[in-house]
């Protein structure tokens, strides 16, 4: 009897604990869920709804079905802009946000700590400089004037001044974004490299591995997850970024030369000389960007097997 009573009490206790656990979960998750709902879900829903209208500054919900999407499919500029976007995202990613970040991290953890720290701190400067100031510095550096930084330096080699922005718009756009973006990966990779137990590195050295071999066979495999995370995260980040391109080339210097998807959407929705705006078409472009982001997320999730990263470890180390 007593046992049954005890058992019943346990069941109630368990039920009570489950209920209070759910309550705690709800309390702790509610603020972040509210934030996501207000600042992400709601704008996405509104953007999708506006994309089915031809809304302009009349702010009228004039439903036109899929017209904006059909127009996008036949818009020759949209296809050019899509090509630009892919070039921009993957070049910046490979050369700077992952490539350069990894290089800096590897170099700076293999040199004396004090120098390494100072060098990494330098790479944080572009990120902490206000966007407009940073963009202006670039514009001053690449202008055609003989006194512009690059032309001034090259003048010592007897070279004629060049309008760098006009001649090499893509390398400059990629560099402008890359110098800012590299620091994110640099911090994560450095932290990951520093968390590798020194026993592994010592053991490799004792076995006669060179620095390059240590990097190739010990360090890189051990920072696999951070590498894949930064690649995925920075792809999504670059896909939606446009502010530095806006400030440096504004999509030019030629015919949509450096116009990327997010900038095209911004131009159509907000930045027309005559104040004629296309919220509907701009929203359709933004919706496609959200879909592209989702597709990339799924591809990365599958290809990089992020599920394995998320599951609880089988043993506690």
């Amino acid at each position: 009897m007593g046992g049954v009573h005890l058992l019943g009490g346990n069941r109630e206790d368990r039920r009570g604990r489950r209920w209070s656990r759910r309550r705690y979960l709800a309390v702790f998750l509610a603020p972040s869920f509210a934030l996501i709902a207000v600042f992400y879900l709601l704008p996405v829903i509104l953007t999708v709804l506006i994309s089915f209208t031809d809304m302009d500054y009349s702010f009228r919900w004039n439903w036109i079905g899929l017209e904006n999407y059909l127009r996008m499919a036949s818009d020759p500029i949209a296809s050019k802009v899509l090509g630009n976007t892919l070039l921009y995202v993957f070049s910046t990613l490979a050369l700077f946000n992952v490539g350069m970040a990894l290089l800096i991290s590897l170099v700076t953890v293999h040199i004396p700590e004090r120098i390494g720290k100072g060098y990494r701190a330098l790479w944080l400067l572009p990120r902490i400089t206000p966007s407009t100031v940073y963009a202006l510095l670039w514009l001053w550096a690449v202008r055609q004037d003989p006194t512009a930084l690059i032309n001034w330096l090259l003048s010592f080699l007897g070279m004629e001044p060049i309008n760098w922005l006009h001649k090499y718009p893509w390398p400059i756009v990629i560099a402008v974004n890359g110098f800012v973006g590299a620091s994110f990966g640099m911090i994560i990779f450095t932290a990951a490299l520093k968390s590798i137990p020194t026993d592994y590195l010592m053991a490799a050295r004792v076995d006669g591995a060179s620095t390059l071999q240590v990097i190739r066979h010990v360090e890189l495999p051990l920072i696999k997850w951070p590498l894949m995370f930064v690649t995925a995260y920075q792809t999504l980040s670059l896909l939606t970024s446009y502010e530095y391109i806006l400030l440096v080339t504004n999509g030019g210097p030629g015919y949509y030369t450096t116009e990327v998807w997010a900038l095209y959407s911004y131009h159509l929705a907000f930045a027309q000389y005559g104040g004629v705006v296309k919220f509907g078409y701009g929203a359709a472009l933004a919706t496609v960007l959200v879909i592209l982001g989702l597709i990339f997320s799924i591809v990365y999730w599958r290809a990089f097997r992020f599920r394995e990263l998320m599951v609880e470890p089988k043993i506690e180390v």
């Binding site: 009228r60 030019g252 210097p253 030629g254 949509y256 030369t257």
Partner: protein, 504 residues
């Protein structure tokens, strides 16, 4: 509550001012028409007018008493204006002058009501697009200005979407005060569906400026230089000739750049299309026009200017206003500048040129015809004052219109025109002493005979954007003239046949 509180003194105030203005007009009418000794034949009329004047005086006295009884109060009128060139600041300052004047009258009449201007004058880096964005967003959040200065091409959109109110009744009421004097073609620019939605603020012409000193160094005689605007008028000096002269100056090392044009999007580029006999507007159909042959020639001209004659820099469109537009021309490093009359005001006010240097070194002409014997062109973009619906809802539309009427004054408007190098909107302004002292304005007045207004069409902004992007592609070398034409045509077709007529 607020509306009720404001509307009574306002209606009394407006009635009072109308009385004063009518009295002033009658007084004015009396003085010049009845010189001493010649009034015998019209003594009956004179007596009648005197009686009317007495009646008005009585009315004013009555209103003054009423106004004094309404107590004090401040009526704030929110005014938004833009340059974006800094010398056009009198688009706003004139309102402050008018409000001061009005307050003095009110004080003299014993009223404690005062009018205050809460004004904004936007200058670069705020450009037109951003200014208009600010307006629509302010309107949407219930903070719109009462008086909004904008380009005439917005009338259709603003009116059809209920942002502004029609002004026909007000204009009729104040017609004899000042509006009879407005140059009639300007009324056409503010009409939409048979109603008047704005009051013209200013207009301008877009000349092709040239450096006389550089032409002299090229071997032109003073007479030849003086004759150039006339030759352009007769169609004897074409856009092709412009390229040739510019090339000669560049080749001989007299200038670094042959021709400079604006560095950002704008409407100026359409002048070249008009010079090649392109049409922009079909008034009968109420549609914009795309003339294929003219666009082909225009694109070829821009391509040749950059890549064949090398007189326009391929980086002009990614340039800077000071370093690539004002600077090279005012320093004598560029021979021709496709600009606007207001640029003269900008150069003088910024100290880039003195008035004397401008007179001695700079000449101005229409944009030459595309082909020999053709018609030269310019383009005008009249700005207008509108009254928002929110002003009406606040109960201050009457006072807002009264202030607009006061700034549409020959003296105040001439002040703006002279300081910023814009053209007169009133006949009497042309004979204003300040205006007459500015020979440049008198010299370019003829250009209005060759002008075109941009179309009052809701999709005009799209047309303009497509053209700008394509021209940027041609100048940068991204597009050949043929590719550019195909891109342009495909973009314009996208606007729909209900908006644009495409003709050969």
């Amino acid at each position: 509550m607020r509306r009720k509180g404001v509307s009574r003194p306002i209606s009394i105030l407006v009635a009072l001012i109308v009385g004063i203005l009518i009295g002033a007009v009658i007084g004015y009418a009396l003085t010049p028409k009845t010189p001493a000794g010649t009034a015998a034949s019209s003594s009956g009329d004179l007596e009648k007018l005197r009686t009317e004047n007495e009646q008005l005086k009585a009315k004013v006295e009555e209103l003054t008493k009423k106004l004094a009884a309404t107590g004090g109060g401040e009526i704030t009128i929110k005014v938004w204006t833009i340059g974006p060139d800094p010398p056009s600041e009198y688009r706003l300052k004139n309102f402050q002058i008018a409000a001061d004047m009005l307050n003095k009258w009110l004080a003299a009449l014993g009223s404690k009501v005062r009018v205050k201007i809460d004004g904004q004058f936007f200058v670069r880096p705020v450009e037109w697009g951003e200014y208009k964005n600010k307006f629509y967003l302010a309107y949407k959040s219930g903070k719109a200005p009462d008086i909004y200065l904008t380009g005439h091409e917005d009338v259709g959109f603003l009116a059809s979407n209920g942002y502004i109110i029609p002004l026909d009744d007000y204009i009729k009421e104040y017609w004899d005060t000042v509006y009879y004097d407005v140059i009639p073609t300007l009324w056409e620019a503010v009409k939409y569906q048979g109603k008047i939605w704005g009051v013209p603020q200013d207009t301008e012409a877009r000349p092709m400026y040239f450096r006389k000193d550089v032409l002299k160094k090229l071997g032109w005689s003073d007479e030849e230089i003086a004759q150039l605007p006339e030759k352009v008028k007769r169609g004897e000096f074409t856009l092709e000739d412009l390229l040739k002269v510019a090339k000669e100056a560049v080749d001989r090392g007299l200038v670094k750049r042959g021709i400079v044009h604006r560095v950002k999007e704008g409407y100026d580029y359409f002048q070249f299309y008009l010079a090649f006999e392109g049409r922009l507007w079909d008034a009968k159909a109420g549609k914009m026009v795309f003339t294929k042959s003219a666009w082909r020639k225009t694109l070829q001209w821009f391509h040749d200017a950059v890549w064949k004659y090398k007189v326009i820099s391929p980086t002009q469109f990614s340039g800077d206003w000071d370093k690539d537009f004002h600077g090279p021309f005012t320093k004598g490093e560029a021979l021709f500048l496709s600009g606007g009359t207001w640029h003269k005001g900008e150069w003088v006010s910024k100290g880039l040129l003195t008035d004397q240097e401008f007179r001695e070194k700079v000449g101005y002409m229409l944009h030459p015809a595309g082909e020999r014997g053709g018609r030269p062109v310019t383009l005008s973009h009249p700005l207008i004052y509108t009254i928002t619906k929110q002003a009406q809802e606040r109960g201050v539309a009457d006072v807002a219109f009264l202030l607009i009427t006061m700034v549409t004054d020959p003296h105040l408007n001439a002040n703006h025109a002279v300081k910023s190098s814009h053209l007169a909107i009133l006949y009497s302004e042309i004979s204003d002493s300040r205006y007459r002292k500015e020979p440049f304005l008198a010299d370019v007045a003829y250009m209005l005979d060759y002008t075109t207004f941009i179309p009052n069409h809701p999709k005009w902004g799209d047309y303009s954007r497509i053209v700008f992007n394509v021209l940027r592609g041609v100048e940068s070398g991204d597009l050949t003239p043929d590719q550019a034409f195909n891109e342009l045509l495909s973009g314009i077709k996208g606007l729909g046949s209900d908006s644009v007529i495409i003709e050969d």
